[in-house]
Every structure is written in structure tokens, then in C-alpha cells.
């Protein structure tokens, strides 16, 4: 079981919702994620770049029907960090303090 750990990288509202959507998925197409989160291409790209730099998501580009399609998946590290962050949020709601990672 993952220990609770508050994660500033994930806590941003867009990144948190992106991680929450990806947590139950093997992967999601970039346009689906953008539409579900209600943000622009550039905003989502920026947030995904942050998550990718932290090693939390993996972006895969593939050509299908002559179009370049990007899909996004949580990495194992990202999944663990997300689970730990949600556990930390639950502790905060319960009135307990949580450790930050690192």
C-alpha cells in the first residue's frame, strides 16, 4: 500500500484531474483529455509536459489514418504518486498532517 504523500506537481487542479482520469485507464487520446478537462491544447500540453518531466506520464505519438495522434498514459511512478497524493488529501480532510515526498 502506498504511503500518503502530498505532491505539489500533481496538486495543480488541471494536473490532478488529468491524473484522476488516467488512473483507471491504460491510456487516453489527447483530444479526449483536453475536452474532458475543458482546457485548450496549449494549456493541456503545458501541464502534460510538467507531468512528463516528473516522470508521471508518458506521451506516445502514432500515425493513424494519416493523422498524428497523441495518447497519454500514467507511468507506474505517476500512478503511485497520484495514489499517495489522494491518500494525503484524505488525511488533510480528516485533520491529520501529511509528509511531502523527498
Amino acid at each position: 500500500m502506498t504511503a500518503p504523500a502530498f505532491d505539489e506537481t500533481i496538486h495543480n487542479p488541471v494536473r490532478l484531474r488529468a491524473c484522476a482520469m488516467l488512473a483507471g485507464l491504460d491510456h487516453a487520446a489527447f483530444p479526449i483529455l483536453r475536452d474532458e478537462l475543458g482546457v485548450s491544447d496549449s494549456v493541456l500540453s503545458k501541464h502534460l509536459a510538467t507531468l512528463e518531466a516528473a516522470g508521471y506520464v508518458k506521451l506516445t505519438k502514432a500515425t493513424s489514418d494519416r493523422r498524428l495522434r497523441t495518447s497519454v498514459a500514467l507511468t507506474r511512478k505517476g500512478r503511485d504518486a497520484y495514489v499517495a497524493h489522494v491518500a494525503a488529501l484524505r488525511l488533510i480532510v480528516a485533520g491529520e498532517t501529511t509528509p511531502s515526498p523527498g
Partner: protein
């Protein structure tokens, strides 16, 4: 950064809403289960036909495989997602058991008695079982991911 309980609760609410949307996307395809069921039924029938060396067996295997590939591609194109298999292994194993179980049983019966109308019953039973398994997968997935 300090996060107060209200902020944390708002974040948890956003998490729940996003997880529910994710589940809704995964289970938003009512056509998936019947298509999956009918496609899966092709395999035990083809295996039974192999027992009597019918050339139709190869045709069914090719059609079944093509339909399966098309089903997955269509699902991915329509939903834009693919569900995580984590914790869902029991449904994958059950699907393999149904297809190979009915396939092997049909093969043995066909080798001893030849093929007949009973093969239609095998196809229907397999299709229904696999469609029910697909629906069961959706329900279990929704439960697991909090929808």
C-alpha cells in the same frame, strides 16, 4: 504549500468527478458487448469445423480475428481511451476459459459425431456468455473506479 481541509475536500471532489467521467467513457459503448459476443462465438465454431476439416473453419478464424481487431480499433476511435486491465484479470481469464472450453468441447463432439445444428447452439451460448462477461467487466470496472 499549506492545504486546508476545504481545499483538500474540493480537490477530492474533483478527483471523484474525473474518475466518474473516466468510467463513463470506458462504459459508454452499448454496442461493444454484443459485437464482442458474436465475434467470440466464431472461434469455438471454427475449432469444431477444424475437426471435420471444413474449409469454412479458416474463413471463420480469419473473419473472427478481423472482427476482433476492428472492434478494438472502433472502440478506441469512438471513446479515445482504453481501460486499465489492473485488477480485471479474472474477466480476461474467464473469457479465455469460455472460448477455449466451448471450442475444445465442440472439437471433441464434432470429431466423434460430426457437425450439425448443435453448433448453432454452441455459437449462441458462447455469444451470450461473452456478451454477459463484457457487461460484467463494465460493472466491475465502474465499481473498482468509484462510479
Amino acid at each position: 504549500m499549506e492545504t486546508d481541509p476545504l481545499d483538500a475536500q474540493a480537490a477530492l471532489d474533483a478527483v471523484s468527478a474525473a474518475e466518474r467521467r473516466s468510467v463513463a467513457l470506458v462504459t459508454s459503448t452499448p454496442w461493444y458487448a454484443p459485437w464482442y459476443g458474436v465475434t467470440s462465438a466464431a472461434f469455438p465454431v471454427a475449432i469444431a469445423l477444424l475437426a471435420v476439416r471444413s474449409p469454412l473453419a479458416i474463413v471463420l478464424l480469419v473473419l473472427g480475428s478481423a472482427s476482433l481487431v476492428l472492434l478494438v480499433r472502433t472502440y478506441r476511435r469512438v471513446t479515445g481511451v482504453w481501460p486499465s486491465e489492473q485488477g480485471m484479470l479474472v474477466y480476461v481469464i474467464a473469457a479465455v476459459v469460455v472460448v477455449f472450453g466451448t471450442g475444445i468441447a465442440s472439437y471433441l463432439v464434432a470429431r466423434s459425431y460430426g457437425v450439425g445444428w448443435w453448433l448453432l447452439a454452441v455459437a449462441v451460448v458462447t455469444a451470450v456468455l461473452m456478451a454477459l462477461l463484457s457487461r460484467g467487466y463494465d460493472r466491475a470496472y465502474a465499481r473498482k473506479h468509484g462510479a
